[in-house]
């Protein structure tokens, strides 16, 4: 199997945000600014890399009927590890995203990739798949964050270039997330053809 293809699939053909449409809850909730989207994407990617490798390693000793609970235990453990590490060493990210980190446990991308890829492939291929899907998710979230931050707060990565009076508050709020996501999905799918 070609590893470069796996990465390319994760970013373009199977992009979790724009094509698979998995993990919509954190996608919509955390992308109020570009930086929040980027940090959430990277956090999810870290968990995805670890769980993909571990699950791929234990796939043969896991009886089929209990595979989902075993996967969930592994995922929950890694998310909790990440949460403790962020709380201890990256307090700023903890302040911005604290609420959403534990929710990575129920992010369908992680369990989805465990079921669809890691449980059927070698650990190395699963690691590469984690990189591809993780980058795809991070890119999607950052793109969404950039659009919402520019329209809603007149800034990009915290750098303000449009004065307060011309901001469209709607784009920071929940409806703006749905509208932006809808348009981005349409544009990305048009460009792909």
């Amino acid at each position: 199997m070609n590893y470069l293809n796996i990465i390319k699939n994760g970013i373009i053909k199977d992009n979790p945000t724009f094509v698979l449409m998995l993990g919509m809850c954190p996608t919509l909730a955390t992308t109020t600014s570009a930086l929040n989207g980027l940090s959430m994407g990277l956090a999810t990617m870290t968990v995805l890399l670890c769980t993909n490798v571990v699950i791929s390693c234990i796939k043969n000793i896991t009886p089929d009927k209990v595979r989902i609970p075993v996967f969930i235990v592994v995922i929950a453990a890694f998310v909790t590890l990440l949460q403790m590490a962020i709380k201890a060493y990256l307090p700023d990210i903890d302040k911005a995203l604290g609420l959403f980190i534990p929710l990575i446990v129920v992010n369908c991308i992680i369990l989805g990739r465990a079921e669809a890829f890691a449980a059927k492939n070698t650990p190395l291929a699963s690691l590469v798949d984690g990189i591809g899907i993780g980058l795809g998710f991070t890119l999607g979230l950052t793109l969404l964050g950039i659009v919402r931050e520019v329209l809603g707060s007149g800034a990009i990565f915290g750098w303000v270039f449009i004065p307060d009076n011309y901001n469209i508050l709607l784009f920071v709020l929940a409806p703006g997330a749905f509208i932006t996501l809808g348009y981005l999905i349409a544009i990305v799918n048009k460009l792909k053809k």
């Binding site: 909730a29 955390t30 109020t32 600014s33 929040n36 234990i58 796939k59 043969n60 000793i61 896991t62 009886p63 089929d64 009927k65 209990v66 609970p69 075993v70 235990v73 592994v74 929950a76 453990a77 909790t80 590890l81 403790m84 590490a85 709380k87 201890a88 060493y89 307090p91 302040k95 911005a96 995203l97 604290g98 609420l99 959403f100 809603g152 707060s153 508050l169 920071v172 709020l173």
Partner: protein, 193 residues
């Protein structure tokens, strides 16, 4: 290697061992991060006290813990850090996403010197803006006000601008400030007696 059969024994063994193993890893990580997390909290608190007293060298002379019953009959704890300019008071209310812990600095007359948010679970980009919104020179400035008549948002007939689209967070924040003031006043009365 052949996949393990889904017999009862296999399932129980695998699920139990995975859970126990992950439990041990988590316990070890907790042991590693417990000190850094406590240090971070202490650092945030010390810097918070300095910033809310609007003074870079402030020494806490004594610490009081005060328990008051709020309107609903629930007991609330306030931590009061006395110093030469007045006192910094830690007060907790229920925000939009969970507990909202605020540190407010009062001078001897009871006017607000500054505030900082110690812990919150508000929505990023909306309620989470409370850490800036009520500061000096911002839209909802409360610095310099004296909450002897409780502070309210304009929607409730008060004098403070609420955070756009985050009235619940704003109300919770002002309640925390008002409660802190009450705690400060009743603590001083106790001292005089």
């Amino acid at each position: 290697m052949k996949k393990l059969e889904s017999t009862l024994l296999n399932m129980v063994l695998v699920l139990t061992s995975v859970t126990v193993l992950m439990g041990f890893i988590l316990a070890y990580m907790n042991h590693l991060t417990i000190n850094p997390i406590a240090l971070q909290k202490e650092k945030t608190l010390n810097e918070g006290i300095k910033s809310v007293m609007a003074s870079s060298d402030i020494e806490v002379t004594s610490v009081d813990t005060l328990r008051l019953h709020c309107a609903k009959g629930k007991e609330q704890a306030f931590v009061i850090y006395h110093n030469k300019k007045g006192a910094a008071i830690e007060s907790t209310t229920l925000g939009f996403g969970g507990p909202l812990k605020v540190l407010v600095g009062f001078d001897v007359q009871g006017a607000i010197l500054g505030y900082t948010i110690l812990e919150h679970q508000e929505t990023p980009g909306l309620g989470a803006k409370a850490d800036q919104w009520f500061q000096e020179g911002q839209n909802g400035c409360i610095v310099g006000l004296n909450p002897s008549d409780s502070l309210y948002v304009k929607k409730d007939g008060g004098q403070v601008d609420a955070i756009t689209a985050s009235t619940i967070t704003s109300r919770a924040f002002l309640l925390a400030v008002n409660n802190a003031y009450q705690a400060y006043i009743s603590n001083r009365k106790e001292d005089k007696q």
